[in-house]
Symmetry: C2
Subunit: 298 residues, 2 copies
């Protein structure tokens, strides 16, 4: 399945923004008007053998990972999580594994104040495991952070470190950046996304959504575990925040940053030109930097 | 996987009602307070080879079925649907099949005024197809219909016909009973569910949730396509409404019923005793009437 081509065919099937849809398919989560509030909603899958090594990953860790990936999406919108719904379809997976998987979700949900309000369990006709989690949350109108809100002249920032997520097991042990996003949204940024498919690919998505060019200073990227530039650009599952800040707020942000995790200024937003992603000298970053793709959000 | 036993272990992992949760896991959909409104949320799976015959069912019909099953859950709560989020994980399924599946969801969504606001596509490591749909909706406070709200003395009703859903293809072509539920909820009933796993099993669930006994008049069950009593009790996927009505409103309901589909009074609610499900003479209905189980909602 060539997912990018398929998605280009699927997206026109579904209506875009308008009416009660503030942000529809294409951002980290949808935003819809519900009564007097703004509801966030997103869904994600965890597929045995694709998103984790089925034999090596403890079931509770896999369950917590699924929830944390969704929490990362809520963070990227500038929001707070409220509720979750869970499904699992499995075959040749023990009842104990399924119980532990749910226990992992439940403990992580309690830690982050999420109520699990629905679920469904089913059997697959062939060996395997597919779980999904739908996250629901809320965002204040003045904290909405969308991929399309980057403007030329803004500085590009990233939280934490990049690359080598799999060998370091960061892809299992990461902390969703909800606190950091809550600090940033509205006050410093109106354009944020989480980096899950590698900086190169996700930066291109942000540039495309905003109709701008992103120039990255490759020497300023924050390496995890001695990651190379190629690893920082291409490895998936960083679950860090990529966001833009107006130039006149960038210095103040660095001074005021109250968290232990790193904050790195890694580039700037430039007006649209032929290329979406360039280095700081304006040279196209393509070819060797294609990011990591495992599933494709609509 | 013995689903009933597994569910008994899983449910205590997740908090019950309380706080903003008006109705949590265990009803057709959850109800949570969100701002000044009541949000409905439910999730359901469609698994190739389990819920439909993978080769025989057109993809668009399978997609529409997945949405309609969720609409049936919203109806059963007395609510209205608003939004949906969709996932699909597939292997050895053509891109055309996946496109048609999404087209089926999209057309059905438009028909029922549902906005598809999120999705995710992924690959399975082995041949197969698992799709999920999360439905979000709203219910007015005075229209909430819960499984736990049946009271002794109330009459038991069902919409439409029962049994032989598979040979008649009703399980694909059914119409979710949203209009009928909207008419019934609040005005005639505060206790409703949809019949998806066979009347026998779903009636037991209602009796269990309400702490009552259900007495069914087997001769009054409405057969689909000449279904036997056993078929009406056990066949799954009727997607009709099972609900209770105070005795003094039952006659008026029959007179005022404005829809073409059948309305049948099929029994009454009695005080709890040893048996959850009996015939009108008080004889236990068990053994041969065990319903149909394909997946298990948490």
């Amino acid at each position: 399945m060539q997912e990018c081509e398929l998605l280009k065919r699927l997206r026109p099937l579904f209506p875009g923004n308008g009416g009660d849809i503030v942000a529809g398919i294409g951002d980290d989560a949808a935003i819809v008007k519900f009564g007097n509030r703004l509801l966030l909603a997103a869904v994600d899958q965890l597929i045995g053998g694709i998103h984790y090594l089925q034999l090596a990953t403890p079931a509770a860790v896999a369950g917590a990972k699924l929830l944390k990936r969704n929490l990362s999406d809520i963070a990227a919108m500038g929001g707070k999580p409220d509720w979750a719904l869970l499904t699992i379809a499995a075959n040749a997976v023990t009842e104990e594994w399924i119980f532990e998987f749910h226990r992992g979700v439940a403990e992580c949900a309690e830690e982050w104040g999420v109520g699990v309000i629905g679920g469904d369990t089913g059997s697959l006709p062939a060996p395997g495991m597919v779980a999904t989690l739908t996250i629901l949350g809320e965002v204040e109108p003045d904290k909405i952070a969308l991929r399309k809100n980057a403007h030329p002249g803004e500085k590009v920032f990233v939280t934490g470190e990049l690359g080598r997520s799999f060998p370091t097991e960061h892809h299992l042990n990461f902390t969703p950046r909800l606190r950091e996003a809550d600090f940033l949204a509205g006050r410093y940024t109106g354009c944020m996304m989480d980096i899950s498919d590698g900086l190169a690919l996700d930066a291109v998505r942000l540039a495309e959504a905003s109709g701008v060019q992103i120039a990255l200073d490759l020497q300023s990227l924050p390496p995890r575990d001695g990651a190379t530039i190629a690893e920082m650009m291409n490895d998936g599952e960083d679950y860090e925040l990529l966001f833009t800040v107006p130039a006149d707020k960038a210095e103040r942000l660095k001074e005021e940053w109250p968290f232990e995790i790193k904050l790195s200024e890694i580039g700037e937003i430039r007006p649209a030109s032929g290329e979406l992603l360039v280095d700081i000298a304006g040279k196209r970053l393509g070819g060797e930097y294609n990011g990591y793709q495992h599933t494709a959000a609509l």
